[in-house]
């Protein structure tokens, strides 16, 4: 299908992400931590656990519980974000948890909890994906058993054009149809652990987007692993 979106607003290639910086071990009070920045979206993640889980009725006697909490700092968006959980942040917390669960193994920690706290200090679209990337590094940094990293990025379909890593300007394009499709994947198996879509796209476009994003997510996973190794260098 023909598209009117032939040049990205910031001049990037259609399959090009914004610059990425990832670091592990940035919060030393935590058991594991990371910072993940993509363009001007920056997420910090801290992992505490396994630790005692209260209230008791939330405990699982067969394995540890993973509990994710996503939050935006008040100054992290153009309009100030009121502190405290919102319906949006609670939904993102839930899908983040579901995105990470398939890789973690918490069988050694019955009745305990592994808490993951994600804070967005600045956002320019793609915040839930940045949060998942940071959380993934933080969990590994905390020594949690996980079969692989989880890498995530927002893909988009802008007037039938598939683009990787939608930024804020693209998200708010007024005169073209924009579909925002955040995707998270386990790089070694190519299984998808987060899939959401906001906007219109044909089934073909969706599957093309998934194919296009696979190599990008594998590259992001390499960046995540490198961040962990950097901590132990020199």
């Amino acid at each position: 299908m023909e598209s009117r979106y032939n040049k990205r607003l910031d001049g990037r290639g259609f399959e090009e992400t914004r610059p990425i910086i990832a670091r592990a071990g940035v919060i030393n009070k935590a058991d594991g931590s990371a910072m993940f920045r993509i363009g001007r979206t920056t997420a910090y993640a801290a992992v505490y656990g396994p630790r005692e889980l209260h209230p008791k009725h939330l405990q699982d006697p067969k394995k540890g519980v993973l509990r994710c909490n996503y939050n935006m700092m008040p100054f992290s968006a153009e309009e100030r974000v009121r502190p405290g959980p919102s319906r949006r942040s609670r939904e993102i917390s839930m899908v983040t948890e579901k995105a990470l669960l398939p890789v973690v193994n918490l069988e050694d920690y019955p009745n305990a909890v592994v808490d993951v706290f994600i804070e967005l200090i600045e956002t320019d679209a793609g915040s839930r994906c940045a949060g998942i990337c940071a959380a993934s590094i933080a969990l590994a940094d905390a020594g949690i058993i996980m079969k692989d990293m989880v890498a995530a990025v927002s893909t988009g379909v802008i007037d039938h054009r598939i683009v990787i890593d939608l930024d804020g300007e693209e998200e708010h394009l007024a005169d073209l149809d924009v579909a925002d499709i955040p995707i998270a994947m386990i790089p070694s198996t190519e299984e998808i652990t987060l899939l959401q879509m906001d906007g219109k796209a044909s089934k073909e476009e969706l599957f093309r987007a998934i194919e296009m994003v696979k190599p990008v997510l594998k590259r992001i996973a390499e960046v995540q692993r490198k961040a962990l190794k950097e901590k132990y260098k020199g």
Binding site: V26, I27, N28, K29, A30, R40, Y44, A45, A46, Y48, R51, N69, N71, M73, P74, F75, S76, A77, E78, E79, R80, P83, G84, P85, D115, F117, I118, E119, I121, E122, T123, D124
Partner: protein, 261 residues
């Protein structure tokens, strides 16, 4: 929970002038201040002091003034003890400790007349600029009031006004104009442990404090805000000594802030 044994141990060491991390009683940890770190904030600063790392962001807006000050801009300071920053912090509404941090930092900035709020008036009684400062720890190892206060001041200094269109703010369009800053009230918290006074406590030292006094000090040594905390009482002699120490240390801190800006 205070371990009396540990407290006695810390006291004994302090008598010999040695703190848990080897610092002297009047010694701050290494302070690093960076401004302009958050693209979405109108002003921002990241301050590291030892292991404590705090981020402050300024968001500007336009709104109605308070009824008792119709020609003055609105200033609000918020703070939260983010569970991300320390294993002891929980999710949920701000604890009383978080509220105290916000209010004490606010008091220092407000009573020190940091911002000329009269210059933030757009239309008397109708609309004024609102300045919201949020101070949040990324890693908490003690002394949030002081370090948060420094971050708030640096963020205010870093802030630039926004363009206005039809009495509505245009986010993303920054001007070259700074906020009307008139002064820099520096907060210094002094801790009393036994007979010893220390500055810049770590989390472990805060756990064994008897009392603390936060003093906000202006350039000329005038005090503009005070807050006593802790369960024990303070003698008048204590308060005098603590204030003197705070004023002395505020000069170093003020220099550090100016160097960073």
């Amino acid at each position: 929970m205070m371990n009396q044994d540990l407290k006695a141990h810390i006291n004994e060491a302090l008598k010999k002038g040695v703190r848990l991390d080897g610092r002297k009683k009047e010694e701050y940890r290494k302070i690093e201040i960076t401004t302009g770190v958050i693209a979405t904030a109108e002003g921002s600063a990241l301050v590291k002091c030892g292991d404590t790392e705090v981020i402050a962001g300024v968001k500007l807006g336009i709104g109605e003034p308070y009824p008792d000050s119709p020609d003055e801009g609105v200033l609000i300071v918020g703070s939260e003890l983010l569970p991300l920053s320390n294993p002891e912090f929980e999710t949920g509404p701000p604890s009383i400790d978080a509220i105290e941090v916000a209010r004490v930092i606010d008091r220092g900035i407000r009573e020190g007349k940091t911002i000329n709020t009269k210059k933030l008036c757009i239309e008397k009684g109708e609309c004024v600029w609102t300045v919201m400062i949020d101070v949040l720890p990324l890693n908490y190892d003690g002394n949030l009031i002081d370090i948060g206060g420094i971050a708030a001041l640096a963020a205010l200094k870093d802030a630039k006004m926004l363009e206005v269109n039809d009495n509505k703010v245009v986010y993303g369009k920054r001007t070259k104009q700074s906020l009307p800053i008139m002064s820099m009230p520096v907060p210094v918290t002094i801790l009393k442990i036994g007979d010893n006074l220390i500055v810049d406590p770590t989390e472990a030292e805060e756990a064994v404090l008897d009392a603390r006094l936060t003093v906000s000090i202006l350039e000329d040594g005038t005090l503009c805000a005070l807050q006593k905390g802790g369960d024990a009482s303070l003698s008048v002699k204590d308060i005098n000594e603590m204030i003197n120490l705070a004023v002395k240390k505020s000069q170093d801190i003020r220099r550090k802030i100016y160097e960073a800006l």
